[in-house]
């Protein structure tokens, strides 16, 4: 950990908003290199490259886990087979997107589509924006499988490795893949959204990738995924509830089913970290503090639609306002994990470990306090057009 660079990024007051825990995104450099297509001389002016998606601004650190710890994960493969793989569902028992969509092979297909569109008519634009943002996040799945395969000791070395870790990663990816597929088809059929803009956003996002600052460490990696799975569970649970309130029961079932997958995944990932706390409490608590200091960045924080340079910020503002995923949720998740992993009761820690323990245990109330203050301030309400809904405006 002493090797790590931790640039002090100065956060704006919007820190408590879950969106900003991500590092500020950086626009492309000011100087435009000669494009491949142009034959003219190099332009060296202060011209912003058009259609430039955001990039990570932090220094990207790699392999911060000491190599001797890789052994640990090799030794855990049997344990993982018995304790983690059990949280996967056999494919034959799994739901598929078709279970929730109009059946193209049936006579009633056109009527079913009509009903879907009737129900979707009642969905307000701000809800749709959040649903679309969630769908785009799910559709960036290649980035997440990649991220899991950056982790030392647990990566899928061949793409078909038979280690428990690799089996988990592929099966997890396969389960997640249904989420994006289902939401994509639903949104396509509902007719309320600009699919091309959404598809563009997905292409940009997968192209951008993300660096959650897990530094190839499975400690950091699984802490990150534990947090994220719980976050998506909460988020999809909320979109399910909202869909029900707006009278779209089918959509509520869709979001609820996705949420239950996320819950199962959360159980698996938190179990891994629980095991790490058991085997290496000092190392794990240090990594937990490190991850929280760097903040859990949202997977889609680099999202871009070719028009809005602050798309993620705007999307998450709406998600915050609707209560789908808020800074309070961020604090709640952390508090839950601290409890789940019994961080407060850890003993035998080093001096640094105790500092990390104090930091982590003290963090949720600090975040809550910040968020309360932020909420109590007078806010100017602002409306923003979203290209995902044909530039219709939504209040942030």
């Amino acid at each position: 950990m002493a090797l790590k660079l931790n640039p002090m990024t100065f956060q704006s007051r919007k820190y408590p908003s879950f969106s900003l825990p991500s590092m500020a995104s950086l626009r492309s450099p000011k100087f435009v290199a000669a494009s491949v297509l142009s034959s003219g001389p190099k332009e060296v002016e202060n011209v912003k490259k058009p259609f430039s998606p955001p990039r990570e601004v932090h220094v990207q650190v790699t392999h911060s886990m000491p190599p001797q710890k890789i052994e640990l994960f090799k030794n855990l493969e049997d344990w993982a087979e018995q304790n983690i793989l059990v949280h996967l569902k056999p494919v034959e028992k799994c739901w598929q997107p078709q279970d929730f969509l109009p059946d193209p092979a049936s006579e009633g297909f056109h009527d079913q589509v009509k009903e879907l569109r009737e129900r979707a008519k009642e969905l307000p634009d701000d809800y749709l924006v959040v649903l679309v943002g969630d769908m785009i996040t799910e559709e960036a799945l290649p980035t997440y499988q990649t991220m899991l395969n950056t982790l030392d000791g647990v990566r899928d070395e061949t793409g078909a490795s038979l280690t428990s870790w690799a089996v988990w990663t592929r099966a997890w990816t396969a389960e997640e893949n249904r989420h994006g597929d289902l939401l994509n088809k639903y949104l396509y059929l509902c007719g309320r959204v600009d699919m091309k803009q959404i598809e563009k956003t997905i292409q940009y996002l997968i192209g951008s990738g993300m660096d959650p600052r897990t530094e190839n460490s499975p400690y950091l990696g699984f802490i990150y995924t534990s947090f994220q799975e719980r976050a998506t569970f909460i988020s999809h649970g909320n979109t399910a509830r909202h869909a029900k309130e707006h009278g779209d029961i089918k959509l509520a079932q869709i979001c609820g089913t996705i949420a239950s997958d996320e819950k199962r995944h959360e159980t698996a990932y938190t179990k891994i970290v629980e095991k790490l706390f058991e085997i290496d409490p000092d190392g794990t608590v240090l990594e937990l503090a490190d991850m929280m200091k760097k903040k859990i960045s949202m997977p889609a924080h680099l999202m871009y639609d070719g028009r809005d340079d602050n798309l993620f910020e705007h999307f998450s503002a709406v998600a915050q306002r609707l209560g789908v995923y808020t800074a309070k949720d961020y604090a709640d998740i952390l508090e839950f994990l601290v409890g789940r992993w019994k961080v407060e009761e850890l003993t035998g820690l080093s001096g640094e470990g105790r500092k990390a323990q104090d930091y982590v245990c003290g963090l949720p109330p600090r975040i809550r306090r910040l968020e309360e203050r932020s909420q109590s301030r007078v806010k100017q309400s602002r409306a923003m057009p979203f290209s995902w809904i044909f530039d219709r405006e939504v209040k942030l």
Binding site: F10, Q11, S12, R13, Y15, P16, R366, L370, R373
Partner: protein
């Protein structure tokens, strides 16, 4: 004692020159009084930085209190007006909480854009006085 920029020596000097109070309690003031004892008025005129927006020492002292509390700085650790909070071990959450603490202490509201520019005790104190003035106006 670490050397500090011309700005800090000037901003304190303008107030301190006539009232060289030596305060042992707060290390901020300790620094200030040393400056005034050593410099003369001529250095003011040759200085490159303007003095117009600088804060009163009482304000600076109160800011120091908030910063010390937030960062749990040991009493012996000197706190210079131009030291960056980050150099004192503050992360971004600390900085936000420092600004919040200052809002409470001075009963002001700091806009987000202004908060982003607060990286030292001096900057905080200057902004606070500006806001208090605006409030009174």
């Amino acid at each position: 004692m670490a050397s500090f920029s011309a700005t800090s020596s000037l901003s304190f000097f303008s107030v301190r020159a006539n009232n060289p109070q030596v305060s042992g309690r707060n290390s901020c003031l300790k620094v200030v009084s040393m400056v005034s004892a050593r410099n003369s008025f001529t250095s003011l005129r040759t200085a490159r930085f303007h003095v117009s927006c600088s804060a009163r020492p009482e304000t600076v002292e109160q800011v120091c209190e908030v910063v010390r509390k937030q960062l749990v700085l040991p009493a012996e650790r000197p706190l210079l007006p131009n030291t960056k909070f980050s150099e004192l071990g503050a992360d971004s959450l600390d900085t936000v909480e420092i600004v919040m603490g200052l809002e409470e202490k001075f009963d002001i509201e700091v806009a987000e854009e202004s908060a982003e520019n607060i990286t030292t005790v001096q900057e905080a104190a200057d902004l606070i006085e500006k806001l208090i003035l605006k409030k009174g106006a």
